[in-house]
Assembly symmetry: C2
Homo-oligomer: 226 residues x 2
């Protein structure tokens, strides 16, 4: 048992070391970095497609899209107008780790970017344990998944800074209460910032885009003031 624990610790510390290196590279270029996490099918790729298309004239966004198998998500992001998109196929692994990200990072010209987004593997458990050098994790929950998810998968919500409640156009068809999901999430993490949206109808997306722009502006301002 003690052997198992010590190996796990070693793996994590190697990951943390690489994540620190990624964070330093992004900081040097003043690029905020988000790590998108959720269950499979919560709408991470759809939101990133919309975001790329809507902000293309204002922000240059680099993205890494992780999947267990296929490069479909990365291809969707390229088709949505993304020019700095790289896939990571984990080949079975249930999460991205810092090693995978640092391997593809040299293929992206960071000096061109305003914002960097990592789309993690669809999994509400394992990706919570891996720092990828991001400034913050953004967790998505779609209303079709139920308002109990923060309580059942607390690790992910504890380690996220932003929670997106997606597919709100389907609210009437679901046994999902907006107050309950917020209360459940805040019980796990009182600092969570919320967004409600529907990628299908476009409701709530403008507020999301504004927040991303302010994030980029703040990072640049902070850099100038340091």
């Amino acid at each position: 048992m003690s052997k198992k624990i010590s190996i796990e610790k070693k793996v994590l510390s190697e990951n943390d070391k690489l994540a620190m290196e990624i964070r330093a590279q992004l900081k040097k270029q003043q690029i905020p970095a988000l790590n998108f996490v959720s269950s499979p099918g919560s709408g991470k790729t759809s939101l990133l497609e919309k975001t790329l298309a809507a902000l293309s004239s204002e922000l240059t966004i680099g993205m890494v899209a992780g999947d267990v198998q296929t490069e479909n998500d990365a291809n969707r992001l390229i088709n949505a107008g993304g020019k700095f998109i790289k896939p990571i196929v984990t080949g079975g692994s249930c999460h991205l780790d810092a090693k995978m990200v640092s391997k593809v990072l040299p293929q992206i010209d960071l000096s061109k970017l305003d914002l960097f987004i990592i789309e993690n593997v669809g999994n509400l458990v394992c990706p919570s344990s891996y720092d990828l050098g991001e400034d913050m994790k953004v967790v998505l929950v779609s209303v079709t998944e139920g308002d109990d998810k923060p309580l059942k998968y607390p690790g992910m919500f504890r380690r996220s800074s932003v929670m997106i409640i997606n597919k709100i156009d389907m609210l009437e068809l679901c046994d999902f209460d907006m107050e309950t999901v917020r209360r459940n999430a805040l019980q796990i993490n009182g600092d969570l910032k919320f967004f409600e949206m529907s990628c299908r109808t476009g409701e709530g997306l403008d507020i999301w885009y504004d927040w991303l722009k302010s994030l980029v502006a703040q990072k640049k301002e902070h850099f100038l003031n340091v």
Copy 2:
């Protein structure tokens, strides 16, 4: 690296040994066993609630409900009329393993059961690798998750025998094609048996109930003929 692999192999073989013991216990009592797997929020618990309520006069069903945190699912199943329900809280682990199941199994009087169902942790990756002594894995996909899931998470669909397409009442609101999801799934596993249903409207549930009853009858018949 080789050390990591050898430890993983050892863990798996210990799991397989325990899974064989569970399988032997269930076989002795002629109880078919299903392992329900899916993303979080695909509707595993809702379907099991409906199943318990609909079949209570015909079949006695034992269930083990796994969750990362909370016993909410097990409590829902008990409230739905389940008399042989046990929770497993993994406390962070992303899947059930045979050790967890064999620990709670003595708390269920198998001699009373016609059918045994394990509700795994919501995760479309990790639970695929763990044999829990079941006869077959049943994978659920809800139409809100997208028809690409079998290609992106092939391990789970390869190791399942039955695929349930759930929440079909929401089809019109989703970019989900029934033909495509079946084709994608069959590309991974040509032997998959499909069910389409909506737990909200009840569509397709009768066919599912009939199949469960035939599964129990077959197992008993097979036992008599051996």
